[in-house]
Symmetry: C2
Subunit: 194 residues, 2 copies
DNA sequence: CGATAGTATCAACAGGGTGTCGAGACGACG
DNA sequence: CGTCGTCTCGACACCCTGTTGATACTATCG
């Protein structure tokens, strides 16, 4: 068995465990044993639980960014349709990797590194959304109002939190199947008025 | 020194520590020593770190609920003013107790009890907001749309997340002084249309 | 075909955290 | 002056983390 196989085994063990219980209930020993190695050997491959999580997480983010396409850039074509399309792309990916998503949210609370990585990802989306809002305002489709960046930040943080509550099943939450519709409606009203 | 004094000392020690570093970096021994008692004695007063936090947290929630008054119920009088008034009341309290607020957010990720308590609080606000939205729709001030409850949940989760990002200073975030204004604008547009 | 260098592995250690138990100190009150 | 709550903590058992140092295995080259 090669080093790459071992590393994959660690990722697989982690993904299995995280689908069974919360991140803070999983020890490095659990992950290591699940991958058929000892705890010190785990440290040969990863620096921490969080490092394993980030590895899985980044793969997931790549998938999400690929799937979303350029919906936001083409928002002028048909705002409701493009918004819905983009949100559905993200939510489908997060839903497909629910355990990793929830573990990521948990890790963000205690790991500065996870927090920073997620913040950087959010930052790119905020930039794109703010640009799209400004373009819609420039062409007269959307009325002026609060700074586009502040609007983009607030709406994206809403998406994050609403999706998380729905996936975690923590009340109060919007039903999973209604998440995309509700978020789309609020974005449309917040950006375009009616 | 009486038992009540000791208990107060524990709360004070906790509040001081939590203003210096993150919750997960604080051990029960730290809290106990800061209160001038031993670790086992800590357990005589509280079952866990989270129990101390919840004690402080509930006091803070009482303050917030008192300060907010009945802004939401009187929303018909002047929606922008009432909304702004209510949001400012909450945000002021959270800002005045920033370390406790941030510790609460951190604890929610790992403690089912904290998560449940916060969920119950959110649930009461969701009920009030949904009722207010339905009343505005009934009197024709607000147009129909997505279910009032889903709208209320999403907007309140947005408020929670936006306020948290601002208080934690985790990018991307809205500047503290702009939070209330931005949130008010989005609520107005989401509920009333333009 | 042996020397050597990089890769991989883990027993054992050091350090820190949690929660509990049982023995005792202390004050109030019948 | 006993005795009963209240209060206190040393000591223990246990779990978790991250590192060290000894050891294997493997591949490549002179």
């Amino acid at each position: 068995m090669s080093g790459d196989d071992r590393e994959r085994a660690v990722l697989a063990s982690f993904e299995r465990l995280v689908s069974e219980r919360a991140l803070h209930e999983i020890s490095i020993d659990d992950i290591a044993r699940g991958a058929g190695i000892s705890r010190p050997t785990f440290y040969f491959y990863f620096a921490s639980k969080e490092a394993v999580l980030l590895s899985l997480f980044e793969r997931m983010l790549g998938e999400a960014n690929a799937r979303r396409g350029d919906a936001l850039e083409r928002i002028a074509e048909d705002p409701p349709a493009r918004l819905r399309e983009g949100f559905a792309a993200f939510f489908d990916v997060f839903r497909a990797h629910r355990p990793v998503t929830l573990a990521g949210a948990e890790a963000r609370a205690t790991s500065a590194e996870v927090e920073a990585v997620w913040g950087a990802v959010m930052e790119t989306w905020v930039g794109e959304a703010a640009t799209a809002i400004e373009a819609e305002r420039a062409r007269g489709a959307a009325p002026p109002g609060v700074p586009a960046r502040d609007l983009a930040i607030s709406l994206l943080l809403m998406n994050e939190r609403v999706q998380h509550a729905a996936l975690a099943g923590h009340a109060p939450a919007v039903a999973e199947d209604d998440v995309v519709g509700v978020l789309t409606t609020i974005w449309l009203r917040a950006i375009y008025g009616t």
